[in-house]
Structures are given as C-alpha cells and as structure tokens.
C-alpha cells in the first residue's frame, strides 16, 4: 500500500519534470521574463534613484551615480543605437560606436538625473505592471509638493538576453522619441559629423 503510493508519486514527479524540461528545451522558445522579474528590476532601479536623491551628496556626484544606475539596469547600447538611427549607426566605425554609447549614456544620466533630483524630493513608488508586446510596462508614481502626482512608466525588455530597462515615459512623454528628435537634430546641425556629435554630447545634459 505504502510502496504503491510512493511509486505513484515518483512517476508523477517524473512526468512533471519531463513536461517542464520539454517546455524549457522546446526549440525556438526562450524562457520569457516574468512580470515579477521586470517589476523587481524597476523596483531596484527606483530604490537606487531614491537613495541617491536622499543622500544629499553634491550634484556632480549624484549625476555620476545616476549614470552607473542607468548602465547597470538599462540596455544603454540598444537605447543609444535606436536614438541615433540605423543610418548614423551603420556609418560609424566600431570605435565611434563605442565612444558614442559612452557619451550618450553620460548625457542621458545628467539630463534625466537633474530632472529627477529637482522634481521629486519625495519618492517614486512602483504601482502597477502590464504586459505589452514590446515587453513589460511598469507604472510608478512620483509625488510633488502641492501638485497632482505624476506618472512615470518604465519599459522592460529581455530581448538582449536578460531583463533591462529600455524606455521610460514621463506623463506620456517618451524618452526615446524625445532623444531621437534631439540627437538627430544635433547630428543634422553638424552635417552628420559623428565625431563632433560625440564631443558635444559630452558637454550636454
């Protein structure tokens, strides 16, 4: 009687394992990121931003820390590439591409870091999550003194191989679209000279 139950249990476990392995190894089906993983990533990112703001360190130091946070949790090469566009990207040498990613990351961290610093003061709170075709959208709310709170939404994608932040929307204003307009206008005004663009990005934001 007892041995029979054990046998049943053993075969059940074996079948379940086989199914799980099959699902995992099924060709063409990578394990997708869960909503929970995406949420945890943004929660970490937001916690780190909050603690940098609360630290009260000098601005220059805060901005360097924001850059480290962005590089740690965001897919900066993909964001930088998408902002520049296929034409500009493919026209650049590998060394220029690397220099551009680095200059753009610093620029983005300074620009958005300044806004976060002066705007928030209070805290960003993760509120909701939603699956979309491009990944998982994490909603968060930032409180402002004497104003209605404003919403920041973060897009997380794992198409690079692991979950990374790839875009954010501040009250609907799309960071990627904003920077695309900005950086491409810069490139146009420099007659497509990427070296000049890289130099000038280092001094902006």
């Amino acid at each position: 009687m007892i041995s029979e139950t054990n046998l049943d249990r053993r075969s059940l476990v074996a079948t379940a394992t086989a199914f799980a392995l099959g699902a995992f190894l099924w060709p063409g089906r990578a394990r997708a990121m869960t909503v929970g993983e995406a949420r945890a990533l943004i929660q970490r990112l937001v916690d780190e931003i909050n603690s940098v703001i609360a630290s009260g360190r000098p601005e220059a130091q805060m901005l360097r820390e924001f850059e480290a946070i962005l590089v740690r949790h965001g897919d900066m090469p993909a964001i930088a590439r998408s902002v520049l566009g296929a034409e500009g990207w493919n026209g650049a040498s590998a060394a220029q591409q690397r220099a551009y990613i680095e200059a753009f990351s610093g620029y983005l961290a300074r620009k958005y870091g300044r806004r976060f610093r002066e705007f928030i003061g209070a805290e960003i709170r993760v509120t909701n999550t939603r699956e979309v075709s491009a990944g998982v959208l994490i909603g968060s709310v930032a409180n402002l003194r004497g104003r209605a709170p404003f919403e920041v939404e973060w897009l997380v994608s794992d198409r690079s191989g692991r979950p990374r932040m790839v875009n954010l929307f501040i009250e609907g204003i799309n960071m990627l679209a904003t920077e695309r307009t900005e950086v491409r206008a810069m490139l146009d005004n420099r007659r497509g000279n990427i070296e000049q663009l890289i130099t000038d990005l280092r001094g902006r934001g």
């Binding site: 590439r81 806004r115 929307f169 307009t181 206008a185």
Partner: protein, 250 residues
C-alpha cells in the same frame, strides 16, 4: 440691456456651433500616436520665436526673482486657488464626456477645498489622495470623435492643436464661474492665472530652461512634449501600439 445681452449670447453660441462644425469637418484625419501633423510649421516657428523672446525678456526674469522652486506656501496657495476656480469648468466637461466618476471626484474635491480649504487656498482633498481629474473642452471634442487637427503654437499660450485651441475658446464661453463673474472679478481671475503662470515658471525652472534654452531644437521638443503628453492623457494611458520595440529596428 438684458435682452441685448441675451441676443449677444445667442449669437456667440450660434457662431461657436458653426465653428465647431467647420473644424470637425476640416480635421477628419486619423490620429497616430507618433505622427506629427504640422502643416503650419513655418508660422508656428515664428510664434515660437516670439514666445521664446517673451520668456527670455519677461517671464523668466520675473520668475527668477521668486527664487528657485517657487515661492513656497504663498505660491502653493495661489496655485491651489487658481486650480480650484478651474474645477467647475472641468466638471462640466467631465459630464459632457460622460466621465461620471471624474465628475463626482471633482465635485467632491471642489466642495472640500472651497469649505475646509478656505475658499481653495489649501488643498485638503489632495492630501487625502483626491486629486484633480482633468477635463477641458478640447478633451470633450476628442471624446465626441473629433480629430486632433494640425499642431499649433499659440502666442502667449504655447503649444496646442486646432482641436485644443477651439476647446479653449469654448471653455471660456461655458465656464460656469466665468459667466457668473462681474467684469472686475473676471479681470481678477485673469491676473490670478498670470501669477500662477509665473509661479509655475519658477517652480519648474530647471525643466523649462532645459527645454527652451538647452535643446538643439526647442520648437520640435515642445511640440513632441505637448502631443505625447496630451494624447496619453486623452486616451487615458499608453496603448500597446504606442510602445515601440527598440530591438525591431536592428
């Protein structure tokens, strides 16, 4: 006197209806989230240059005297008061859009802040999480199916669209408070909104300065900010199509 005013009111309303019908017919093109419809770009850029010099010469220096981040409690009081006065108009539009929950929330907020908030100077409703739900006639026109129309930058007022500019005019005409007010009170309310604007300019100094003076093309940035923010607010959140997959381009 009374009948003359009545006639004037009726003529105004008739003109408005005619204008709405015309504009609804004129801008019947589909709205895409990332599309920018800006056939008046040349004139718009001239208006932008005017607004920019106005900011540079007047708004920014005046706001600068308030110090960074607004004037604190005084400025908060003015913002609260101005925002409270705008609530009846928002409620009318919530109703016109059949957004009954928004209308109720705004009504509750208005009664709370007008009484316990000393005529709207304080914002006890906000402290309880009862924030203002947006409602304007531009949004009402959108809810009724009118297309956004061309992008416009208006002198003094800044970014808008054909639909929103029309909505702004209608809002002035249908504002319950505005119609109740005597000319002197109306002048006071205009002065209040100007002061509120200066307060905002000082409170958001970093953001506005970076948008207007540090970007490569401040006109294009202001246009993008306005359209994306407005579209998301009107459709109540981002739709799946609004969110691109950045890995698709490469």
């Amino acid at each position: 006197m009374h009948s003359r005013r009545g006639n004037f009111g009726r003529t105004c309303r008739a003109l408005l209806v005619a204008a709405i019908t015309l504009v609804v017919a004129a801008c019947a093109q589909p709205d895409g989230f990332d599309t920018i419809n800006d056939p008046h770009e040349v004139q718009n850029r001239e208006v932008h240059a005017f607004n920019l010099s106005l900011d540079q010469r007047v708004l920014r220096p005046v706001a600068g005297t308030l110090g960074e981040g607004g004037t604190g409690p005084v400025g908060d009081g003015i913002s609260n008061f101005a925002s409270n006065l705008a609530l009846p108009r928002a409620i009318v539009n919530n109703l016109l859009q059949f957004q009954l929950v928004d209308a109720m929330a705004n009504t509750l907020r208005f009664s709370l802040n007008t009484t316990a908030g000393f005529g709207g100077l304080l914002d006890p409703a906000g402290a309880w999480g009862l924030h203002k739900r947006p409602g304007d006639f531009g949004g009402t026109l959108a809810a009724w199916g009118m297309a956004e129309g061309a992008y416009l930058e208006l002198p003094f007022l800044g970014p808008s669209t054909e639909r929103d500019a029309l909505g702004m005019m209608v809002d002035l005409a249908i504002d319950p408070l505005n119609t109740l007010m005597a000319p002197r009170e109306r002048a006071g309310s205009l002065a209040l909104s100007v002061i509120d604007r200066v307060e905002d300019r000082s409170r958001f100094a970093g953001l506005v300065d970076s948008l207007l003076y540090e970007s490569e093309d401040s006109y294009a940035q202001a246009r993008l900010f306005y359209l994306q923010n407005r579209r998301r607010a009107l459709q109540r959140g981002l739709a799946d199509d609004d969110i691109e997959d950045i890995y698709d381009d490469f």
